[in-house]
Structures are given as structure tokens and as C-alpha cells.
């Protein structure tokens, strides 16, 4: 039987296909280059502007005059070309797309490597570069090599203070940074049903850290309910007995809080092993862990306490922020002494708003700890939200307790 990738792309693994795309989006970084490519290509009219989105998330609000000017040009282009724009403060592209835009079965391309996040909906969602995106905007389609698929089989339920991010770090460590290059991941098994949509988005998000094109879940009643809450009708997909290249088995009950240590995402150890590591900054947010459930989990741990280290919290979108205000989660975070930033990528890529200094150490809920990524000479450890919260309170890497 076919894998989800084979079903959606309509051909067996290994074949090259041209496919129309349902949604194609870029952000303030890649959008500028896509716009330049369209100009050089001589493309004036886009055939399906209703399928396209621009989302300003990477450096928002603009940090310099140059950035502001580039964003102003792109903003003007959005208006002229009819592309819907989510401007500064709207949130991270993948989160904005997860709030009722992407539906099961869609072919989704984003000019950002973490577009695989949206595979959580049972969609074929993958990242491309800026010139690829320009050609997609101009033609409405692109080429794909239908990937082979690796199954990540989830059994049981998470226990203790473990959360989906720990599962993500576990499968990245298992596969390695190139273990799924040119391939797709499918998250299957009885344990998948017990993971919320926010948790699935976290799991799918890190697929690219193994080199994978996308990381997909089958749409199920959890997906359908989530989309209904966002005003979208959808149906569950029926899991098939598919042919997988290999299977990575994860018993969720065995998962303990994990940390990826500098400078590789796949060098993962138990949080216990690096407990006590001095921190200069804690960063909670990004397309991995900036969702409402993440902020709520963080707030439960820091409520009524004070953070002992500079702690930055960036909600993934305006709607996440709005809900956190309505439920009191944001007040808990602010009262604990955290810095709250505007919805967007924040300091994840080291371009603004929380750049590390030489020798500084950050515990981050993001997805990448590459050398110098958050600032020259800075060191990045990656963890779950609960580990980040427990560590913010103590100022050193700390194993979270069950709350």
C-alpha cells in the first residue's frame, strides 16, 4: 500500500513528478529574494494569488533601516500582486498556516526549511528555497522526487515531566542529522492518538533536522477537532499498512527529559547528565515550542516564582498571545520576570532580539543549536519547555519535576 507521500504525490517512491501546489508561502527573509527572482524572470501576474501567503516573522519588527526598507518593498508587492500578508506581530509562518489554512491532503510548500511542521495535518508539506518559490508562484506547480518513507512508531503514553519535544529530540538522536535525507517521516502507532495537535506540530517540526522532506501524521479525530476550532471542516484519513524503508520504534513511556548539547541537534543526552550547566539566557518560543500549550506549560512551572536568569518568551502567533492573555498565562510569565517579545521567530536565528554574546550559554526550546547560530561565540542547548522553565527558575540546567 502507498505511503502518505506516494498517495498525495500520486506516484511510487523514487519517481519525479510535477505537482500543482495548494499553498505556497514565504517569509520576510526568503520573500525578498523570491520577489527579486520574479522580477528577473519577468513575471508580472501570478496565476493563483489566493493560494499564496507572505508572513513577516523572521525579523519583526524590523531591526534596522535596511531591514525596514526590504520589508516595505515586499509589503508593497503583496498589495500589488494580491498575496495575503501577515505583517509583523501576526506570528511565525508555520504557526499562522496551522491556524486554519493548511488542511489534510494538501500539497504545501514554504520558503523555509521548517515547512515540514505542517505535515502534522496529514499534508505533504516541505521547504524550498526562494527561487524555487518564485517559480512556484509564477507557475502554480513544482517538481518533487517522491520520497521513500521512514516510520516513527509511537507506542504508549508520555509520563512524568516529558513532553513531545523530548520525543522529537529522541527521534532526531536516533536517526541522526542525515538519517532521513531525501526521505519522509510518518509518525504512526497507537501512541500518536494521545498527542495533541500542538504536540504533533512540535514532532513534525524537527523532521528536517534529520534531513527529511516532511514529517506527517495521519489526520484523525484530534486533527478534525482542532481544525473545527479554527473554522475548517476536515475528515480523518484512514491509516494504511504502508511499505516503510525502516521503522524507528519509540515507547513514549520510556521518554525522559532530554537536551541536545552544542553544536549538533543529534548529540542528545538526558537532562540529568547536563544538570547544573550555567545559563546566561533561556529562550522559549519558535515554530517548535511557541504554541499555547507550550506557554501554558511554562506558566504552570514559573507561576508565583521568579526567574534567576534572563528569560525570553516569544509567542508563536498573535492568536497564541491573545489566548495566553485571556487565560492569565501571560500574566504568570510576566510576573515571573520574563521578557515577552512580539510573535515571531525571535532570536532563534541570531538576527535580533536576544542575540548571545561571546561565551554566553542559552537553553532554548528551538530546533537548531548550530555553532554561532544565536550569536558569535554563544552556545545553545535545546530542550523541552518544562526543562526550560525549571532551568529558568534556578539559572542552571535543571531536570523538570512533574507539575
Amino acid at each position: 500500500m502507498s505511503t502518505l507521500s506516494e498517495a498525495f504525490l500520486g506516484a511510487p517512491a523514487g519517481e519525479y513528478v510535477d505537482r500543482e501546489v495548494d499553498i505556497a508561502f514565504a517569509h520576510d527573509g526568503t520573500g525578498v529574494l523570491a520577489r527579486e527572482a520574479l522580477r528577473e524572470m519577468g513575471v508580472e501576474r501570478l496565476p493563483h494569488p489566493d493560494r499564496l501567503r507572505l508572513v513577516f516573522d523572521h525579523i519583526v519588527p524590523a531591526n534596522t533601516g535596511t531591514t525596514a526598507t526590504l520589508q516595505a518593498e515586499l509589503r508593497e508587492y503583496a498589495g500589488v500582486s494580491g498575496i495575503a500578508l501577515s505583517d509583523a506581530g501576526g506570528g511565525i509562518c508555520h504557526q499562522v498556516m496551522s491556524e486554519g489554512v493548511v488542511r489534510p491532503g494538501m500539497i504545501v510548500v514554504g520558503a523555509d526549511s521548517h515547512t515540514c511542521t505542517l505535515g502534522a495535518f496529514g499534508a505533504f508539506a516541505t521547504g524550498v528555497g526562494a527561487t524555487d518559490m518564485a517559480a512556484i508562484w509564477a507557475s502554480g506547480e513544482t517538481w518533487f522526487r517522491v520520497p521513500e518513507t521512514i516510520a516513527v512508531n509511537l507506542e504508549g503514553r508520555l509520563s512524568g515531566a516529558s513532553e513531545p519535544k523530548d520525543v522529537a529530540l529522541a527521534y532526531v538522536a536516533d536517526l541522526g542529522m542525515e538519517g532521513a535525507t531525501y526521505r519522509a517521516l510518518e509518525f504512526v502507532g497507537d501512541g500518536a492518538a494521545g498527542i495533541s495537535m500542538d504536540g504533533r506540530l512540535t514532532l513534525s517540526n524537527m523532521a528536517v533536522e534529520t534531513g527529511a522532506k516532511t514529517g506527517m501524521f495521519y489526520a484523525d479525530p484530534v486533527t478534525v477537532r482542532y481544525l473545527a476550532d479554527h473554522g475548517v471542516a476536515a475528515s480523518p484519513q484512514v491509516p494504511e499498512d504502508s511499505h516503510y524503508e525502516r521503522t524507528v520504534a519509540i515507547d513514549l513511556a520510556d521518554i525522559v527529559p532530554l537536551v541536545a548539547v552544542p553544536h549538533r541537534v543529534d548529540t542528545v543526552c538526558e537532562a540529568e547528565e547536563v544538570a547544573g550547566t550555567h545559563l546566561d539566557q533561556v529562550f522559549v518560543g519558535t515554530c517548535t515550542n511557541g504554541r499555547y500549550e507550550d506557554l501554558a506549560r511554562f506558566a504552570r512551572i514559573v507561576r508565583g516564582k521568579k526567574v534567576a536568569v534572563r528569560t525570553l518568551v516569544f509567542p508563536a502567533s498573535r492568536s497564541v498571545l491573545s489566548r495566553a492573555i485571556a487565560t492569565g498565562v501571560l500574566a504568570d510569565i510576566v510576573d515571573a520576570g520574563c521578557v515577552v517579545g512580539s510573535p515571531g521567530c525571535g532570536p532563534c536565528l541570531g538576527a535580533h532580539a536576544g542575540v548571545l554574546g561571546e561565551g554566553e550559554v542559552c537553553l532554548s526550546t528551538a530546533n537548531r543549536n548550530f555553532k554561532n547560530r544565536m550569536g558569535v561565540g554563544g552556545e545553545i542547548y535545546l530542550s523541552s519547555v518544562a526543562t526550560a522553565a525549571a532551568s529558568a527558575i534556578t539559572g542552571v540546567i535543571t531536570v523538570p519535576e512533574v507539575v
Binding site: 527573509g29 526568503t30 529574494l33 524572470m41 526590504l70 520558503a111 523555509d112 526562494a130 517538481w143 542525515e178
Partner: protein, 156 residues
């Protein structure tokens, strides 16, 4: 498509943050990327790139989708990138900006003479020939045109 140049050997898992750091992305001036390419890996590397062939290990260009990484290499004068395997977005980006990418497993020594022929599907290092993984017809077409922009213009 053929080419030749002295090898610059790199290791596995060279990420796009190392090729061009996030702090240099906000510009349309391509010379900025060429100037700062590989700065966080080896600040002396940029000056050696012109006319060279990069020979990397596995998972070349992993991480961010930033196209500035392949443009930086092209603008710095890199003739081609050979690697045992590529991160897929980097691979597509390279084709789209007209930078030849060759998937082959080769033994590399710095400054060795590298030659390649994409049409015949081989790469040579110091005279020793290795097979290269064939590209799809479309990828060859885009590369031969010099990238997606000229390819698009020639098709319309």
C-alpha cells in the same frame, strides 16, 4: 556540463548557518554574502574559493533554506560542489542558481585537481574517476540554462 578546479575539502554536516550567518542575510547585495561566506567555519576560506571545487562529506548544506548560502558560493567563484550527500533544499537551491552540484563519494585532498562532467556522470579527483549520481532531466535543463531565472525565460 563540465568544469575543473582545485579541491577545497570540507567535512560532514556543513550547515547553511556556517556558510552564511543569519546576521548577513538582510540585504540584496550579493557581494556581502560572498565576502562573509564560511566566516564562522574558517575566516580565511572566502579568499581561496574563486575557481575552486568544494568537496564535502555527507549532508552538505543542512539546516536553513536560505538561498543566500548557494548564492554566496557562486558569487565567491566556486565552480561546483561535490558531496557524498546533500541536504535537499541546498541541492535544489544550487541547481536553481546555476551552481553545479555533484553527488559522489570521493577521496579528497586539499588542492587536488577536480574535474567533472555532469552529462557523462563522473567526477575525477587527481585523475581518479568516480561515478556521480545522475540528475533528473529537469535539473539538468535548469543547470544547463544557468539557473531557474534563465531557464524560465528560455521556456516562455
Amino acid at each position: 556540463m563540465q568544469g575543473t578546479g582545485p579541491a577545497i575539502c570540507l567535512g560532514n554536516d556543513i550547515d547553511t548557518d556556517l556558510i552564511i550567518a543569519g546576521r548577513y542575510l538582510r540585504t540584496k547585495d550579493r557581494s556581502v554574502w560572498a565576502e562573509h561566506v564560511f566566516e564562522d567555519l574558517d575566516p580565511m576560506l572566502a579568499s581561496r574559493l574563486s575557481g575552486s571545487v568544494i568537496v564535502a562529506g555527507r549532508n552538505m548544506g543542512c539546516g536553513s533554506s536560505r538561498e543566500q548560502a548557494v548564492v554566496a558560493l557562486r558569487e565567491a567563484g566556486v565552480v561546483a560542489v561535490v558531496a557524498e550527500s546533500f541536504a535537499r533544499i541546498f541541492f535544489r537551491n544550487a541547481v536553481n542558481v546555476g551552481l553545479p552540484v555533484i553527488e559522489a563519494s570521493v577521496a579528497c585532498t586539499d588542492s587536488a585537481r577536480v574535474a567533472f562532467d555532469l552529462d557523462s556522470g563522473w567526477v575525477e579527483v587527481d585523475g581518479k574517476r568516480y561515478p556521480a549520481r545522475p540528475l533528473s532531466e529537469k535539473m539538468v535543463g535548469i543547470l544547463r540554462a544557468g539557473g531557474m531565472v534563465p531557464y524560465w525565460r528560455s521556456c516562455r
